[in-house]
Symmetry: C2
Subunit: 723 residues, 2 copies
């Protein structure tokens, strides 16, 4: 265990749970039903929450009710106890890099749904011992280890907080650092050091787990990220707790100043030149319309789904079911969906930068890095909060409080509308307000913040949004004005004096195990193909025709459209037909543009020759395989890419009328600008899963309009009135 | 003037104002200040509005205060009076196809902003006489016609309601229609007929203004669009009021049934299988934070802009100015922005379908077809409403009430966030709620509804969204199940029994006259170029580099990226530099995806080979030209495409450091599905205008968080509590 002096060097990532050890005198266990106990950062549930009618789910003492429920606090203790008496680990207890419910095979989960008994609860543990990854499954009932495998693949498991602390500790104890700090007029105590992952760049890095350590001046600002000690990078052997490489090429580069970098609220520090905005709030005085049963089963309007926090994925949405608007039948849409990997390459090849090509889910964990959401600012007032129950490196549980919020949204938009002059005297003016349900989490993977939303609409659409905020990863430079720089392109965009915002990308790959009306589905590309009007009975020359192409194999489903070949991407159930004989389906819809494909000589196109847009996509479809969950591989850390979606998919398996998984990647290029300094305004992108001939007709045709008489009666708060 | 019996055949488009004549005993003038008067559909301002603290703008009696204010009711009367005594029109008064303020040259508007007197008010009138389009400008002060030109181009002006009524009238009086109706067991009185534009398909259509007329059964449903008399199409010479071609090839095709097509709310017609949603509302009991001065000048937070209804564009946003967060300076962002054209080609070459390739703005008018918004359902409770003052074919004004709504939105999202474990004990948890201002209108261009939003964010971003709803344009078929159809692809998607939803596209082209810190701007493509790490000091092989390319000419600015060449599209002011020397700019941001461009053999890409997305765009940039407002040409109707953005741009003018206009097209492909029947759930797409080195830093860094104490105090309404 580390000493508290080391904690003055907070690391961006997994230090959160570790800090709890120190700040709150280690685990503060409490007894619950079934003898369960867990550490809890008791001050975190914000005060405003305690007065809410709809308080957050008490998950710490829950008994699992659903086969895919996460391990409870009690179960985590039990796993640890089983492992402690497991013979191979008697001498040495492995570092627990991961411990999760070992979800039963889909068939067993579906069988349970149809009345079978709850399948046996099992845990899947990844332990690290002597530089080897032990993959262990444990039957919780029998208390027995069922399988135990030592990985022979290239990667290591997700980091733990101890790994990170060890690396930072080794780095700050390294004599060279003091020299480098002193050369910049600082002592080590003035530094905040972070430990990004090293990627993998060749055989010389084999056989040891590495972390890079970078340091920043924390003088004068909480936003140390803006004050790098440029050119200073240490490579640490995590397990040997040793700096194996020290490089400092940046002593001539000043540390950027800390002025104007503090992003915290300071009363009296007036907001910018702006007329104040009167208080505005999403109000629902009768409370939310959803229920959360047994801590995980969400029911709202026509939707049901299972929602659980996950240390690696952030949260997982499972068994998504929608009630049919005509029949009332509960119909499956998706078995499981979650962000499977998050790839963030930076665009700088310098010694202190080239390795920055993070795979945040597999290396650090989107759940492990999710801190509590900020009520009223991250989520609206009518939000309900849920905790995550996670596992520390010593195998003990800890609580990530208020990690997920769930709320109904009314953003002022309509779900459908039409106005018409008809036979009736006043004309028809019909519109329906759109209310949705949002499940949200936010991971602070070091400097960057990723907010992930799953939004459910009553018309059957699911919209998945990733929003980026937080801090840039910046590079210091000797220049404080662009006019001093000869080759501006090579240097990168200057976002503040002596600060370059390094260009980077974000790619979030979602695992979407679609089960449209059952597991066996088919992926259909509906290609919009330009046809010539060859018969020529009318003067129109061309038109678009949707041509269905059933993907037989994985290769066939790897979508990479060319400029003028737009498509829709359907996952259909060929055995389930609509009233009209259309296969029941959902399509994945990129937030996108589209191209006019008419012939250039076609009169309509001639007259609108200014219309021309296009979009392309890459989508992958694989057959369901319980072991293929993580696009970057189960053991991602320092892996060579030998266990990725790309590799699996090259087997080119058959996928027609099979249980298939859809993979969708949402990407962002980020060329920073001054507005991103010192904290970035949120940027968001989305994609949708949308019913297509799933319902026999518009499922919200008969939705009620909103009437004034039903809306809340509100008055300003006394505090606001007094303003 | 038509007789009321003809009105049983409502037309989808411009019949609205005409109906007013009949339903409300013609114009019901009232006297206002300055002797102004206008017709007004007095029952339209919905009751709920009358009790609102913030009622809608009374524009009917406004005096123009800003050089670009639309013509007032009084000015419209004055123009009509001037034209009535204008010699060339003494014998025959032209049909007024369009009458708008003739906006002064930009320099004069900007001069006025700097203290010059209000430029003279002028009107621009397009009148139609003897098949000729007269373009007339009138000085309102002197009462003189200043210019008068007869168009020699190919197109005609926007239709008027009289044009439409005449065409429908001619069609329903045509004997062949009665025969066709009888052959289907109907009388003409059972029909609703609509009159879509004919497009232009060759020289045989020269010399006369045409409308197509299609008929539907209105029996048993207000949603007649779902009950076409397939194969029946009449071509009408509008000016001669004569059917010149009658075609009915569909007598063997049944008229689809009307069951389940009524979209109106009927109490007791229970909503679909769905748990009820408790009332939810955006509440702002202290009222909105924006002001609307002189009917048009909107001020909110750090924004100021001029907003006016327009018969052709719907609404126009002008003189968009943002206050600088550091200095308080008012800084120009955009001179003028509006939807310039809306191209909607349908994908069927049959005789009754091939011509459907609408250009809704230039043919029908997005404002002319905008009916009143539906409070609480189209716009939230806290919305403020504005009217449109438009002109009828006889040159008289009429009011389009509640045509625009303006509201502040809080959708539960954050404007920025970061959580961090820092040196302070509790960690940092900072987030700021995002509140925006939305200006909205909705056009019902016949069957389709287009909702257009301009959303202003305090961080300087403007998001423009087009949302589609309303009815499909459908084709009847003999089949009532897909399994009866041999060639399903040729037939198109079946959306109900005997109903095919014909595939179509929508392309909305926006005119965006950017004036970033002044008129003279430069368009810069910031290309993200893949570079090899040739020096090879580190093992990284590739990276992205933003390479700035200044567009010198229009040709140079016509953006059409290839698959792996993403770019940003900046409009910068080369003379205005940020504190750091970056040019002040805004970029247009497609809602988009992005592609990883790393080398496939680069280790980071090797490990994340599953990431691959891309987007492309077409953008046009032209030099500012007062006459180039309408992408499809000033006179669009039946035009040959000889006066479009495409044509203008082929002059390849210089655009560097000039007053430039950016054109952006938002496109949709629509392959209908059963969920679109009988009314379509809303589909939306957006693009953004985003500051890039415009502000010296994040302009909302010092925004206040939301505190519980400031939020409204709400209780359920008595009605809701009693439920």
């Amino acid at each position: 265990m580390e000493t508290s002096s080391r904690l003055r060097l907070p690391f961006l990532l997994l230090l959160l749970p570790m800090l709890l050890f120190f700040l709150f005198s280690s685990w503060n266990p409490f007894s619950g039903g079934g003898g369960e106990s867990a550490g809890r950062r008791s001050q975190f549930p914000p005060k405003s929450l305690t007065s809410k009618k709809f308080s957050h789910s008490a998950q710490t003492s829950a008994t699992p009710r659903h086969p895919i429920d996460p391990l409870t606090v009690g179960e985590i203790h039990r796993v640890r106890s089983i492992l402690s008496s497991y013979e191979p680990f008697l001498g040495q207890f492995p570092a627990i890099q991961s411990m999760t419910i070992d979800e039963p095979d889909k068939s067993r989960v579906l069988g349970w749904q149809s009345g079978d008994p709850l399948p046996p609860r099992k845990a899947f543990v990844i332990g690290l011992l002597d530089n080897q990854s032990h993959l262990v499954t444990i039957d919780l009932e029998s208390g027995r280890v069922e399988t135990h495998e030592i990985s022979s693949g290239s990667g290591y498991p997700m980091l733990t907080m101890e790994d990170v602390a060890a690396a930072v500790d080794a780095a700050v104890s390294y004599p060279g650092l003091e020299v480098s700090a002193a050369a910049r007029g600082l002592s080590v105590a003035n530094l905040s050091c972070i430990s990004p992952s090293p990627g993998w760049f060749g055989p010389e890095e084999e056989g040891k787990r590495l972390l890079k350590v970078l340091c920043y001046s924390k003088q004068g600002t909480p936003n140390f990220y803006m004050r790098p000690l440029e050119g200073l990078v240490m490579t640490v052997d995590v397990d040997r707790r040793e700096v194996i490489k020290f490089s400092d090429t940046g002593r001539g580069i000043p540390i950027p100043g800390g002025a104007n970098t503090d992003y915290r609220f300071h009363p009296g520090n007036d907001p910018p030149e702006m007329n104040p905005i009167n208080p505005i709030s999403m109000e629902q005085p009768q409370g939310p319309s959803f229920t959360v049963t047994d801590g995980h089963l969400v029911e709202w309007a026509n939707w049901e789904f299972h929602l659980k926090a996950d240390q690696r994925a952030g949260f997982i949405v499972s068994r998504v079911v929608v009630r049919d608007s005509e029949t009332g039948d509960r119909r499956s849409v998706m078995y499981k969906g979650f962000p499977s990997e998050l790839f963030v390459p930076y665009m700088d090849v310098d010694e202190a930068w080239y390795f920055k090509s993070y795979m945040d889910a597999g290396e650090f964990g989107m759940g492990a890095t999710a801190m509590p959401l900020v009520p009223l600012n991250d989520c609206p007032r009518n939000a309900h909060y849920m905790d995550g129950v996670f596992v520390s490196a010593d195998g003990r549980p800890f609580i990530q409080p208020n990690m997920i919020c769930l709320f109904e949204r009314y953003a002022g938009d309509s779900a459908w509308r039409h106005t018409e002059l008809t036979v009736s005297a006043g004309g028809e003016k019909e519109a329906r307000a759109k209310v949705t349900l949002v499940a949200r989490m936010a991971s602070s993977v070091g400097n960057y913040d990723y907010t992930i939303d799953w939004e459910f609409q009553t018309d059957g659409l699911i919209k998945i949004t990733v929003a980026l905020s937080g801090m840039l990863m910046v590079k210091a430079t000797v220049h404080d004005n662009m006019n001093q720089i000869e080759n501006q392109e090579e240097t990168g965009p200057m976002v503040s004096e002596n600060v370059i915002g390094v260009v980077h990308d974000h790619f979030i790959t979602f695992h979407l195990d679609m089960d449209v009306d059952g597991p066996n589905n088919t992926f259909v590309k509906v290609n919009l193909v330009k046809e010539e009007n060859l018969e020529g009975k009318t003067p129109r020359k061309s038109y678009l025709k949707p041509v269905r192409h059933v993907a037989k194999t994985e290769e066939d489903a790897r979508v990479k459209l060319s400029l003028y070949n737009p498509s829709e991407f359907h996952v259909v159930n060929p055995s389930r037909r609509s009233r009209l004989g259309n296969p029941s389906g959902y399509k994945v819809v990129p937030e996108a543009n589209a191209a006019s494909l008419l012939d250039h000589s076609d009169p309509p196109q001639l007259r609108s020759a200014f219309t021309n847009n296009q979009v392309k996509k890459v989508i992958w479809v694989t057959p369901y395989n319980r072991s293929e969950q993580w696009a970057g591989g189960l053991l991602t850390y320092q892996s060579h890419g030998d266990d990725t979606l790309d590799v699996w998919s090259h087997r080119n398996r058959e996928i027609e009328d099979k249980d298939v998984v859809l993979w969708y990647t949402l990407g962002f290029h980020h060329v920073p600008c001054q507005e991103d300094f010192p904290i970035m305004p949120t940027v968001a992108a989305s994609f949708q899963l949308k019913p297509v001939n799933f319902f026999d007709r518009n499922p919200i045709l008969r939705a009620h309009p909103v009437f004034e008489k039903d809306l809340p009666v509100c008055r300003p708060s006394e505090s606001a009135s007094a303003m």
